[in-house]
């Protein structure tokens, strides 16, 4: 039984690590802030979720596991908020849908 669990942990954590790698790759490769933001929040939240999922069997049940999940939820909440704030702070380039200058309907602040 423990072999299956440790195997699950190894697979899940390494998957999470790959998603983190993807997120960082997106950060370096994408042209502008909004797409980088998109890559980071998506990949890192999923990566962290997988890592937490993988570690659940290794941790004392239930308190340790609940703390790990709480960490993940906090990261989700913080990531989403910071994503929104940075997105609102970045002036959209002309011609893109969110551009207020050309009268197009921008997202409410």
């Amino acid at each position: 039984m423990t072999l299956a669990l440790t195997l699950f942990t190894v697979i899940s954590v390494s998957l999470g690590a790959i998603f983190f790698l993807a997120g960082t790759l997106g950060l370096l490769r994408f042209p502008d802030t909004l797409t980088r933001l998109h890559a980071l929040t998506k990949a890192d939240n999923l990566g962290l979720g997988l890592v937490v999922l993988g570690l659940l069997p290794q941790v004392a049940w239930p308190l340790g596991a609940l703390k790990l999940i709480a960490v993940w939820l906090l990261a989700l909440l913080a990531g989403a908020t910071v994503g929104q704030l940075l997105g609102a702070a970045v002036p959209p380039e002309p011609g893109t849908p969110g551009d207020r200058a050309t009268g197009a309907e921008g997202q409410t602040p």
Partner: protein
């Protein structure tokens, strides 16, 4: 074992890289962002060094609140950055200072490597008498038992520090409210965070305070988390910063330290020495001090972040 060593080496190199970035970055704002990341990694190092209490304090205070303080200052001082470059010392002088700093580091590293091998430690002595203090967390035992005077003095040091920050206000603004730290229109996302997170944050803060007696945690860590939640609410503009002339606020600031002194003085009669705890009553007294110290520390740390009072005009200017 070498894999763990490789991980430690990678962590140490990452920290040095971020530290070099913090010094060498041309833009101050970028340097501060690097500093916050550096602080979080140093908290990780503290966990590797087996000091979990310090790791929490470093993460919350060393990189969290200090980072917030410096980010605000970096944004405020951005326009003056260009003028700073003229005051740069000449290249030869910088080279000389760099060489001397290198020499200090080399001597320090050599000395650290040659510290005596059976490392002198007070660990066993602390562990031996910990039972009489009734707490199982040795760091809390040292902070509130053996070296209670350091903790008392350190809480007292925060009061002149606070008055120092307040005394920089203009005379008419005295007693008014500090400027609200948040942006003018914080936007729905920040308001949502400031409504969802604080209840959980306050719970975590109180848990840290409560668990501090027997496991890593304690009043500093709890107070910092509570202060962070309070500042988050202020940044989102849900509350206005308090008026600094308010009598209840002043008493809340000094409450913790005063109770600490009263309990310390009671030790003279009950347990024969200042800051001593009578037999059997040690744990309740330590908890009483910690419980009453946490709100005071949280308020002081928050007020240190908010800065001097600005004129008492309307909602947060």
């Amino acid at each position: 074992m070498s894999l763990a060593l490789a991980a430690d080496a990678f962590l140490a190199l990452l920290i040095l890289g971020l530290a070099i970035w913090t010094i060498a970055a041309s833009q101050t704002y970028g340097a501060v962002v690097g500093f916050v990341a550096y602080g979080l990694l140093v908290a990780l190092v503290w966990v590797r060094l087996g000091s979990v209490d310090v790791a929490m304090t470093e993460a919350a205070l060393g990189s969290g609140l200090t980072g917030l303080l410096l980010l605000g200052a970096a944004a405020h001082l951005a326009p003056l950055e260009a003028a700073e470059r003229q005051a740069r010392p000449g290249p030869w002088l910088r080279l000389l200072v760099g060489a001397l700093c290198g020499a200090v580091t080399a001597v320090l590293a050599a000395v650290v490597l040659s510290l005596p091998e059976p490392a002198p430690t007070l660990g066993p002595a602390v562990a031996e008498h910990l039972a009489t203090l009734g707490v199982r967390n040795p760091v809390t035992g040292v902070l509130l038992g053996y070296r209670a005077i350091d903790t008392l003095l350190e809480t007292v040091v925060l009061v002149p520090a606070l008055v120092a920050v307040w005394s920089l206000a203009t005379d008419p603004a005295w007693g008014g409210r500090p400027a609200s730290p948040g942006p003018r229109d914080p936007g729905s996302a920040l308001t949502l965070l400031a409504q969802v997170l604080p209840p959980a944050g306050i719970l975590v803060g109180i848990h840290l305070l409560w668990v501090g007696a027997d496991a890593p945690g304690g009043k500093f860590q709890g107070a910092v988390v509570l202060a962070a939640m309070w500042v988050l609410v202020l940044v989102a503009g849900l509350r206005r910063p308090p008026a600094l002339a308010g009598r209840p606020l002043r008493w809340l600031i000094v409450l913790g330290a005063l109770v600490f002194i009263v309990i310390g003085l009671s030790g003279v009669w009950l347990a024969g020495a200042f800051l001593a705890y009578p037999e059997g009553l040690a744990k309740p007294m330590i908890l009483a001090i910690e419980i009453l110290l946490t709100p005071s520390l949280a308020v002081i740390l928050g007020l240190l972040l908010l800065g001097p009072p600005v004129a008492d005009r309307g909602p947060g200017t």
